[in-house]
Symmetry: C2
Subunit: 488 residues, 2 copies
Amino acid sequence: MTTPEDRDDLTTPDRASNTPEDNTQGPSPDAGQQDPNYGMDIHLQPDFVRAIVDAIHADDTDTARALVADLHVADIADLFEVLSSEERRSLARLVADALDPNFLSELEGAAFDDVVKVISPSIIADAVKQLDTDDAVYILEDLNAESQQEVLHALTREDRTALEEGLAFPEDSAGRLMQRHLVAVPEFWSIGQTIDFLRAQEDDQSPNDFYELIVVDPAYRPIGTVPLSRVLSCKRPMRIKDVMNPDPHIMHVTTDQEEVARQFAKYHLISAGVVNDYGRLVGVITVDDIVGVIEDEAQEDILALAGVSEGDVNVSIRDVSRTRFIWLFVNMGTAVLASLVIGLFDATLEAMVALAVLMPIVASMGGNAGTQTMAVAVRALATKELSPANAMRIVNKELIVALINGVGLAIVVGIVGMIWFGDILLSLVLATAMIINMVVAGLSGIMVPMILDRFGVDPAVASSVFVTTITDVVGFFAFLGLAALVLV
Amino acid sequence: MTTPEDRDDLTTPDRASNTPEDNTQGPSPDAGQQDPNYGMDIHLQPDFVRAIVDAIHADDTDTARALVADLHVADIADLFEVLSSEERRSLARLVADALDPNFLSELEGAAFDDVVKVISPSIIADAVKQLDTDDAVYILEDLNAESQQEVLHALTREDRTALEEGLAFPEDSAGRLMQRHLVAVPEFWSIGQTIDFLRAQEDDQSPNDFYELIVVDPAYRPIGTVPLSRVLSCKRPMRIKDVMNPDPHIMHVTTDQEEVARQFAKYHLISAGVVNDYGRLVGVITVDDIVGVIEDEAQEDILALAGVSEGDVNVSIRDVSRTRFIWLFVNMGTAVLASLVIGLFDATLEAMVALAVLMPIVASMGGNAGTQTMAVAVRALATKELSPANAMRIVNKELIVALINGVGLAIVVGIVGMIWFGDILLSLVLATAMIINMVVAGLSGIMVPMILDRFGVDPAVASSVFVTTITDVVGFFAFLGLAALVLV
């Protein structure tokens, strides 16, 4: 039997069972069965997916429903996402009305579009009714205008207005992320009053699970937060104002979700009140919704640096081709520019074909070094580790690093050139061009993102095309130009 | 005055003050003062940093302490991070013993190393005593062995053992992330019993703020969770087992933090029990600690793709140069390999110098296209959107996208070639090589990360060198090889 006293075991070494000594005994015989990851993500197992696909093709409603019956809504969403577009629609037709409608708020991109195409607006309306406002808004914002109206009309006037207000906030703003049902209490309440108030809430009035109370002043402006664990561990007569954390972190409805996420991460927030222009509390954002935002924002940066605007593997071939082509086309301009620089030296190249053989080394090493610095700069700007306060120091540092590595690589490439072509002068030209391009790469890797950021352009999206253009052009120009001067 | 009924306003449109209509009135006159972001991150303002630096150089303890007095611990950490290494040490000497020792757990990398070098082990020991086990372990793991021992000896035997056990778990494992103080209750308890138990906890026994109770069976295995909001809103006689969420998500002590973070994000977890090999609950991980992990892991992927192992702008020049040089050196091998391929065709190049001018276009466009596909694949593998269940579908899709974009770019580059050199055969060779290299780029962009992942190598770290090697070699070989066959 577990008694309250048992929990103190956890820090009592002689009874806790995960001491280092225990580990040396290896897992117990039944460890396999207790592996907590066992059975996780089972929907991603090819066998399970195959069984689902078979049921879809056999149009076998019962089997399909039985297979998905015990899945978590997030797993159901993942299952839809691994299927092809047609399979998704067929599966939705077979099982949608038997599912917890919450799975809709877990679906992303193309999978969401496929599923809502075939399920009835009444199922979507049911989902929207049950969900927190932020999740409901997430579903609604992805519907086309017609379905959106259909769903909104199926709601009560009150729910509809709340959602319409949510949709009126800019995309990716705190207003879209926030949950409107919340619990706010005045600071002069006692713990006892607060608990009685919470117990008296009717189910449809109280928000889903929450973790902190927001303390408001008479004008309904947030002035503090109280973690629920503190409400539970304090005696009934204590006052809210004596246990609250003052100076709450507050978001404005229009604050960008990236900034909201940055503050949650930095200050380890569990929830934050959202206020309107008048400072009045209108909603609350909880950390579980922010986790997804942080993943999305970091993902966006990764993909943007690689020239991809959409990382969802489920986007249609047409959309993927189009968005990637635009980026490739822009880069083609860069590549042609680099070729024009080479073209300036065609006489030099004709005189010495070894230059053509070696020239890509200088350009490509510059590109690599520039990309390294750029990735660090883009992330440091996003996390605000790089700011006007330390910009000079960081630029100086990158310059020194570029010089050190430039000299190092120049020595290596000089030796390679000597061994290959046995030409000291050629090797010296190669080494000098390498140093020049590495320094230019380091400088442009740090300066380009900083300048873009200053002008309000997202450095993750635009930096790499500038940096590689600079390193290509400078790389070819320095190498071939020096060769034209010295060698030919 | 705020009454409980007020909170229902939030969904009552006629009284909520953020209706779209309100927005059209523009901000209220005092909106500027109420801007919740106003004053945020003030430590990053150059003026503030300059004032701190001045105080450091003047060795002015009072001013320095006054300036940092009201900062949040996270802001203090950020302040240290924008300073130079010497300034950090001076500031730590001036203010460390007046600061909330929690700021230590907010410091990262080089800034942490600088600060702990100059503050006394007793301050560190004080911090460690006050912190959650996970934060204390975070501080200890970054200390050198000597300081670690010094700090551990300043602790009580019980605290010391708990931390030593924490340090015994692998780096980046759930065991390192978990908090050992937790509240677990048996399922047969009533809500009333639970509240009484929580109120009876002495301060030094109860964990810091927490958000869910973990329900355990008699063998202390987790069998459910109860959000505290549910404890607060239920009547005293209700039983824990009737309000708990069954089937809790459980982590094993050795589970990698990346997998822990993925499950938190996917299942919107607020906390998760951590068990040992025997399935016994030994700790709890809360979402506020996971937010940092998610940021770090995504950041790692971004930097790894760019060939950087350390994104901290505060790492020393020597360390930065060394780690980046290793990557550049590896890439130099790639570049030389590409040059060797070009070298095979020196006679061809000598016969037609236009080939040297155009050849980087084919290689660089292949590199760009390969990077696009690779970035998507690396992220999809990390989030498990790409799995054996849908691998074939995704590979086929990438192949089709590569073919479409290859043909598109081939037409563009063919026209460029015609305009520039007026040579149809040369343009056809260029266009054909482009199609070949784009298809190879698409295939290698998706296959290389998948193969690396299958063999347990982190695709984010190793993919790009393989992909660019392939696209360079194939690009030069296809273009110059075709030219040798057709043109010369």
